[in-house]
């Protein structure tokens, strides 16, 4: 269709987040014959990361490098994004529905007086129509949505649209664009890292989640060990957060995060409707609970009725063995 789409990638700790490649794949899907331009913002040299976006399917990349882009602020990044958008004049913009994407895209959409479809989990192209599927009511339902006027602007939920295969024989121009980033009214004073494992819940392929059955903050230890052998992240139900066993940032559910990992292991979680809303669209669900009547078993693919403190360490051992033999 020959459209030009802009993909805003996301750099964290000097590397691209996976959702950046998923956004390129989404743009490619919308725009098979058109041009996909990647944009990256940050501090230091981003040119190699620009190439990486090309390996994953972008045609070319524009990077804006400025010391005031070291930490994300909506104002700084919007200045960079607007400069690129004015240059490129794209017909659509795709970004990940991450903390950054959620914060930045409404500002840009508002500035451009454009619609914005947030948190798409699927994209269908039917002739000239591009139909986005997105969860509503935290995944209790879905809607199909289209842009009726103006920019095709959307954010995509991490872990739902598969990235294209990396192909390092692809090449394209990586342009460095000078933009003066100034007059920022919000200043980041400090960032306290709490997510030590570096696996973010929204992007994790595997999540091991604990509920009230975990009984204490220490009770999360076996879950953390299991998450570690699986390369996954730890999550929690509201019950566990309310009881003070863990931080609210781990909460999955209708309030809290909505996640769709490949594998979700629910430990000592009863399965209140609000929790199910946040995780029931996971690809494979395992439930471990003492109570055979627990609601969580109704959405689980596999269930073990038993004490999580017995089952989870055994499971960790078995998976360790499997990984060692692999």
């Amino acid at each position: 269709m020959g459209k030009k789409l802009l993909v805003i990638g996301e750099v964290r700790d000097g590397a691209l987040r996976n959702v950046s490649f998923e956004a390129v794949a989404a743009a490619r899907k919308i725009n098979e014959d058109g041009e996909v331009v990647a944009a990256l913002f940050g501090e230091g040299n981003l040119e190699q990361l620009g190439n990486e976006m090309i390996y994953y399917g972008a045609d070319r990349a524009v990077v804006v490098q400025h010391e005031n882009l070291k930490n994300y602020t909506s104002e700084g990044y919007a200045q960079a994004a607007m400069a690129v958008i004015e240059d490129e004049n794209p017909e659509g913009i795709i970004m990940g529905h991450t903390a950054q994407g959620k914060d930045l895209t409404p500002k840009i959409a508002s500035r451009l007086e454009s619609g914005l479809i947030s948190d798409a989990t699927d994209i269908e192209v039917d002739g000239d129509d591009v139909v986005f599927t997105r969860p509503i009511y935290s995944g209790k339902a879905f809607e199909k949505k289209v842009v009726t006027e103006g920019l095709l602007f959307a954010t995509i939920r991490p872990n739902n649209i598969a990235p294209l295969d990396r192909d390092d024989t692809r090449s394209g121009e990586v342009a460095v664009k000078d933009v003066e980033i100034k007059d920022l009214r919000t200043v980041i004073k400090d960032i306290i890292r709490k997510t030590t494992e570096g696996v973010d819940l929204s992007e994790a392929k595997v999540i091991v989640a604990g509920g009230r059955g975990v009984k204490s903050a220490d009770g999360f230890k076996p879950l953390e060990e299991l998450a570690e052998v699986l390369g996954g992240a730890v999550g929690a139900s509201r019950g566990a957060c309310d009881a003070g066993y863990c931080d609210y940032s781990l909460q999955i559910g209708q309030t809290g995060k909505v996640v769709t990992p490949d594998l979700y292991i629910a430990c000592g979680i009863s399965g209140a409707i609000q929790h199910l809303a946040g995780m029931s669209n996971s690809k494979v669900i395992v439930a471990i609970n003492k109570d055979p009547e627990a609601n969580i078993f109704n959405v689980a693919d596999y269930g073990i009725v038993g004490d999580l403190f017995e089952v989870v360490p055994k499971l960790t051992e078995e998976i360790k063995k499997l990984k060692e033999n692999a």
Partner: protein
């Protein structure tokens, strides 16, 4: 301080979703204040108590929304405004909502606008940042702590589990995240007082807007429920065997290991 809160009336989190004639059935459903907006209302009340001023809660909705506004007043807000769009607008999106709010704020003086970081129904999370952009004021999303010190505002925000410390200034818009506070329940005297507090009702006409001014640029084609999950398999036998079986199933059947 002039403090405003943007509130949305939403389905109770307990509600199951039923689709009738291609639309989500609202008949008989319980409605609540969007949980994230409750944090906003609570924080607004606390900040007013500390710094003085007035808290006005604003919602866009229909006459049913009065109930949630009265709840906010009973919690301790001073005034409420209902922008009733029921008779005027059929289709809306975030552009519609933002334009209405922009028009509302045009002749207002505000120091701080608080909103939920997301509504648990449509969950776009767009309206707060969009409005701040239209008003030309800074915004900070998903806040978990706020301290106002003169014109300087110290904020902590949740960024995917990390805590970001941000300094900014008034006037400001913030969106609230869980962990910010513990919203109070309305007290009986609060409920009595709320009945006498001012609740202004506006239509878009009163804001010098007509339907064309707030036309959406996106459209919902259909809503549908996720496919019913088939009942899964409960494993049986000795615990060691169950665990071994589970690993084997995850590997060969589910192919996730």
């Amino acid at each position: 301080m002039n403090i405003y809160v943007l509130m949305k009336r939403t389905f109770d989190t307990e509600e199951k979703i039923v689709i009738e004639n291609g639309r989500i059935e609202e008949e008989g459903a319980e409605f609540i204040i969007n949980p994230y907006d409750e944090y906003a209302i609570e924080e607004a009340i606390q900040l007013r108590d500390e710094h003085g001023g007035e808290v006005t809660v604003v919602t866009i909705g229909n006459e049913e929304s009065e109930k949630q506004l009265r709840t906010a007043l009973a919690m301790g807000a001073d005034k409420a405004v209902l922008i009733n769009i029921e008779d005027d607008l059929e289709e809306t999106d975030q552009i519609t909502t933002t334009k209405i709010l922009e028009a509302f704020f045009e002749d207002k003086e505000y120091d701080l606008i608080l909103a939920g970081n997301v509504a648990i129904d449509n969950a776009s999370g767009q309206v707060g940042p969009r409005l701040a952009e239209r008003l030309g004021i800074p915004y900070v999303t998903t806040i978990t702590d706020i301290t106002i010190d003169g014109d300087t505002v110290h904020i902590e925000r949740d960024v995917e589990g990390d805590v970001e410390k941000v300094d900014t200034s008034l006037p400001l818009l913030v969106t609230c995240q869980q962990g910010l506070n513990e919203p109070r329940y309305p007290s009986l005297p609060g409920i009595m007082k709320a009945k006498k507090k001012p609740l202004e009702e506006l239509e878009i006409d009163d804001l010098d807007l007509d339907e064309d001014d707030v036309e959406p640029k996106t459209k919902t084609l259909e809503v549908f429920l996720p496919p019913e999950k088939e009942a899964g398999r409960i494993l049986e036998g000795e615990m060691d065997d169950q665990v071994k079986e589970l690993v084997s199933l995850l590997r060969s059947e589910a192919k996730v290991l």
